[in-house]
Every structure is written in structure tokens, then in C-alpha cells.
Symmetry: C2
Subunit: 366 residues, 2 copies
């Protein structure tokens, strides 16, 4: 992220709009401009400026560093192949802590529920949250519940309690302890560093849009919603934690937006190879059907790590030793050319600049 | 809070309903039953069980104890006399940390915004958030933005971007460092302890409902939205921190619900004196007009403290030395009779049992 809007493909100052658009939540340049021109302008401080997925709080040189993060989840539909909003809300926040180099420890869960929401659905979501927390060893230590009027009732008092489309929004915030060895920042990236991707892309976005559009495929398409904390823990245990420069989870805006964020914040170039990027054939097919570029479609269980070039093979081996990392690949490297840009060498041998998109292909994906 | 639903005035197990009602978010018995029968059932752990407004995290006996809390804010209307959703979201979370005996340090801010929301309103809210953080010395260290479809658009594609009633919801989570001296728990309360209330009641709820119903009064009615952190800090500085048994901020459900929570969780009785409870005459008048009992109306800048009886006058003096506490009063005491009940001696000399209400008089108050 940068104040230099020239580096974005579509420099649109927030003050050119007078209303919030769906695209302002899409993970692209519009969202970045909103963050820069409103939130960072007013909320400025040293910790916020770090610009990572979690804030790193360093109270006192004698004690641990803490990571603190927050995310609200508004995915629609709330149940989708491979998961639901509950698991997504826990894993999403666990992943933000993990890619900050932290071991997730404590989370909060806050519900905003529309009246008329089925309690049986709420129980199913609550069970998913519990299972996701148990699965990753985090404790849910505090929470909150608010109920709002049904959005269907705002214009129409009928069907108030038979609203089968009532919404639920979940905020999770999390605290983790940063691993001693890990110092995560895009500014650490140097030409020659390697970029590792932990698995195949675009599954979450395609699963959600398929559920939303009620489209079924021959091969079932499932969201990749999953925690990446074990991958980070395993790298730390292996002793290679100090060779990790930066990590991210490529959610909203997909792999391209995350790589652009790293290139811009780290003031380096990124080169990736299309033929190295893992993607399931059924996801590729679905992307063609929907007209989506999988490089921009959201993931919810993947990790990108920029690592020291001479340790890349060793770290890749550690990641591939885990089931959730067995499709990991070295997909590219940091370059001293094309500063603040992401360039992809296509399978046809061309170089394609992967711009950050303005809005998003898919609203309410997470 | 207790599993013994007999102690509630209206024991209604969650499974008697199959849909969420507005009253499930109201701070009364329905919300407590939802928490017990769903959230506590599945999310059970030692820290969550503390049942305070923040979780107290005690990593290691050699380092500080941390307080961690979360709240989502859905107040309607978002601008009301005395404040707006932004100040409310910051002060609400600061107050939850403060009444847990902690100095608020870091907060997260997460927005869920309906498309069509005016950016000028968003900027006004952001400025309120910044001012509230500056005013209390907390840092906003992490955040998130999601955009959802306008609720007006769900049934009707017209007026999509002219939606003057677009909603915004804000989650803030916060971290504080617990003061060395303070050990806050309803279980500390003993017969003879005194109950101090830091100021006059029912202002927030009445201000919001007046704005919602567009009713104006001769004397302007303003929300009391304000931080209580300075009161807690001043008590700590005075050396009386160790004589505080429990603190709460009486928000949703008002003074009565908060006192009932303390009585039930502490397994003690509470006696209060109606003539000691500060209330502005214009608020009393508005309550009569709306038909509300001020004892059940939300506050957003008040603190209840149960303190050792023989230090009550000294602590009251400390509180009254601050402008935000200059109307503080000792309103009652802890008793060994009427266990788990709140009894009010009325101005007419009768004893009235103040039950927790089932739902809430006012939805979307915070």
C-alpha cells in the first residue's frame, strides 16, 4: 500500500465518489484508496502504518510480541460447498495472525443477526466455529450479539418471521504471539528471494459464486476454507522462520491483489510463472464458464511466502510435508526490475503485467 | 449469569423459539438464554467462563494481565443528539475494558457498510472515531472494511445509489493492560459492600429513541456517550483499586439488567434506594412520555462500582472530583438477603423487586 496513487492501475481518489459502492469492499484499488484517503488519514499511528494483516504490538523488549487483527465476514450465501460463514470467520482471522508470523491464541466472536434468522442455522454456524477453534487450538474468550431488523421488513412488514434469507454477519478479532524468529514485512523482500504458494488457487471464490448462482458442476467444487497456521508453525519448528521475508493469505482480490500489495509496499518487482501456479482443472473450467480470471479470485486457505532464495527448496519441502501444503510450488521471485509491478510469464511465453483490479469480480465473498 | 434459569423472571429456553427475535439482542433474559444455551454451550473454556465485560488473559505470572473485548454497534439512527455510532463504538469498547480494571491501549475498527452510504457521513464517523481514540489515548492499530448490498435493494433495484437510509455497522475490539491492584469479579462482592453509580441514568436510550421518532423536547436531551476510563484510572492512582470488587457499565437493559447480572453471578442480594439514583428531570419527563422505566434504559457513559463498604466514601470522593463523575452517588449495598435479586426501596417507602426484562424496550440502541 502506498500513498503514490500513480502506481495503481486505476487511480481514483475517494472524493470522486459521494457514495460507497460495492467495489469499495472488493480488495482492489477502490478499497485501497478508501483506506488511504479516509482511514489512514485519520487513524494514523506507527502500528497501523505497518500495513500487515495484523498489528504487531511490541510492549516491552523483555516480553513477547503480540499480533492483533480483526475481520468482519459478510459472505453470501452463508452456507457454501466446503464450509460456512462460521468456519470462514475463524480460519480467516487465524490466517491473518499466522501470516503475520504469529501463533494464534485467542479470538473474539461477535454476531450481527437479522431477526427471523433460523436458530437451527445459527447452531450449525456456532458448531462450525467451535470445531474450527478446536482444530487450531485457539480459545474463544469473548463475544457479543446484536440483532437488527430484517432487511426484508424495511419496506414490507409481511413475512417478518418467515424470512428465509435473513442475513448474519460475524466479526472475529484475534490475538497471537509472534514467533521469536519471525520478522514479517514487505520491506524485507530482496531481489532473488523466492515466492512460494502453498496450494491451488481460486477455489473459495468459485465455490461461493456457484452456490450463489445455484450452478452445479460434474466434479464438486469446494471452497478451500482452511487454516494455514500449521504451515507457519512447521516452518518455525524447522528452524527456517528467520528466512521468511513476508507472508500473506491471498483472499479478496485473489493472488494478483496480494502480490501487488507486496510489490508496492516492498518497493520491489515480482515475477511469477503461469505454469507453476497450481489450479484444479474443474476450477479452471468454472472460471472460463463464469468469465473470471482465477488470478483475481479469492482463496481462503492458502499462503504466499516470500523467502530467502537459497532456503526456498528447504522451506518448500517443509510445506509439502503437510497435507494442506502438498501442492505447494515455488511460483516466482522478487526482481529489481518492474518495481512495484507484478509480471507473469504466461504459458505462451509472453510477459503480462497483472494489475490490481479496481473493484472486485465478486462481492460478498468473505 | 447462571445456568439456573429459575433465577430469571422469565425462564424461556432458546429452543422454544426457532427464529431469532429482536429481543434476543436486547440484553434481557432472552439474550442471556441464547448465550447460555448456544454460545457458552459450545464455546466453553476457562477464560470465557469469567463472564466479565472483557476476557482477562493471564499468560504468565511474570508479565501483565491483558483484557480483551469485542462489541458490534448497530445503533439506529447512526447520528443522534450527543454523538454518533463512531464515538459510541470507541467509547463502548473502552468502557468494557475499563470496567474490567484495565487501561485501554489498542483497538481495532471494522466497518460493514451498505452500498450507497454517503462518504461524507462516513468521514464524519471516522473523525468521531479518531477524536474518541485521541481523547482516551488509545491507538487504532488494525481494521477492516466490508461492503454489502443495500437492504432497500433486496426487493427493489430502484434508488440504489440514492438510499438515504443506508446502514453502517461497526465492530471494535480492544486490548488493555489490567491494573496491578484490580481483581474484578462479581464473586468478590460481600454483604456490606457499597454500590456507587457514577452519574445520572437513561440519557443514551432516550436520546436515541427521540432521534429515531423525531421528537424534540424543550430542553435538549443528549446521549451520555462518554468514556469511563479516567474514573477507573483515578481510582487506581488514589490507591483504592484493591477495594473495587466489581465494575460494570450499564448499557443495554439499563441499570436494572446490570445489577441483576452482578446479583446472579455474585450469588448475593442487592438493595438500592430510588431517591439516591441521579436522573435529569427532562429524562424523567421523556420516560413518562414514552412509557419507559428509566431503570431499564441504556446508558453509554456511566459506571457502577461495588466497593468495600468502609472505603465507599473515599472512592466516591475520588469519582466526584472528575467532571464526568460529579453526580456520582452511593445508590445501595450488597445484602445477604434476597440472594440473586435486586430490590429497590422506592421513594414511597415500598420495596420493589427489579426483575431483568425478557427482551428490551428499545432495539438497536447500541
Amino acid at each position: 500500500m502506498t500513498n503514490n496513487s500513480k502506481s495503481f492501475s486505476c487511480p481514483t481518489p475517494i472524493n470522486q465518489y459521494d457514495k460507497i459502492l460495492l467495489a469499495h469492499g472488493g480488495g482492489g484499488t477502490l478499497m485501497h484508496n478508501l483506506i488511504e484517503s479516509l482511514f489512514k488519514k485519520y487513524f494514523d499511528n506507527d502500528i497501523l502504518k505497518q500495513g500487515n494483516d495484523s498489528a504487531i504490538i511490541d510492549y516491552d523488549k523483555n516480553t513477547s510480541r503480540y499480533a492483533f487483527t480483526t475481520d468482519s465476514y459478510v459472505v453470501h450465501p452463508i452456507f457454501f460447498p466446503g464450509g460456512n460463514i462460521g468456519a470462514l470467520a475463524v480460519y480467516g482471522t487465524i490466517n491473518d495472525l499466522s501470516v503475520s508470523g504469529a501463533k494464534p491464541e485467542f479470538i473474539s466472536v461477535s454476531f450481527i443477526i437479522e431477526e427471523g434468522f433460523p436458530i437451527s442455522d445459527l447452531e450449525e454456524i456456532v458448531i462450525s466455529i467451535k470445531n474450527a477453534a478446536d482444530n487450531t487450538g485457539v480459545k474463544i474468550v469473548t463475544g457479543d450479539t446484536k440483532v437488527i431488523e430484517s432487511s426484508y421488513k424495511l419496506q414490507d412488514n409481511q413475512n417478518k418471521l418467515n424470512n428465509i434469507n435473513a442475513n448474519i454477519y460475524i466479526n472475529t478479532s484475534g490475538i497471537g504471539i509472534v514467533y521469536e524468529d519471525m520478522r514479517i514485512s514487505p520491506l524485507n523482500c530482496k531481489p532473488g528471494d523466492a515466492i512460494i504458494l502453498s496450494g491451488s488457487i481460486a477455489e473459495h471464490g468459485i465455490a461461493v459464486i456457484s452456490a450463489r448462482e445455484k450452478i452445479e458442476f460434474e466434479t464438486e467444487i469446494k471452497s478451500d476454507v482452511n487454516p494455514v497456521n500449521r504451515i507457519v508453525e512447521e516452518i518455525e519448528k524447522s528452524g527456517y522462520g528467520r528466512y521468511i521475508k513476508v507472508m500473506r493469505d491471498p483472499t479478496r482480490g485473489g493472488l494478483t491483489s496480494t502480490l501487488n500489495e507486496i510489490a508496492k509496499a516492498g518497493k520491489i518487482g515480482i515475477k511469477i510463472y503461469e505454469d507453476k501456479i497450481p489450479i484444479l482443472p474443474e476450477i479452471l473450467g468454472a472460471c472460463e464458464l463464469f468469465g473470471f480470471d482465477p488470478m483475481y479470485v479469492a482463496n481462503e486457505g492458502k499462503l504466499i511466502a516470500v523467502v530467502a532464495g537459497n532456503y526456498a527448496d528447504k522451506i518448500l519441502k517443509v510445506i509439502k510435508s503437510l497435507p494442506e501444503g502438498n501442492k505447494a510450488e515455488i511460483i516466482g521471485e522478487i526482481t529489481d526490475t518492474n518495481i512495484q509491478k507484478v509480471v507473469m510469464r504466461t504459458v505462451l511465453g509472453n510477459n503480462r503485467v497483472l494489475d490490481m483490479i479496481s473493484g472486485e469480480q465478486l462481492p460478498r465473498i468473505c
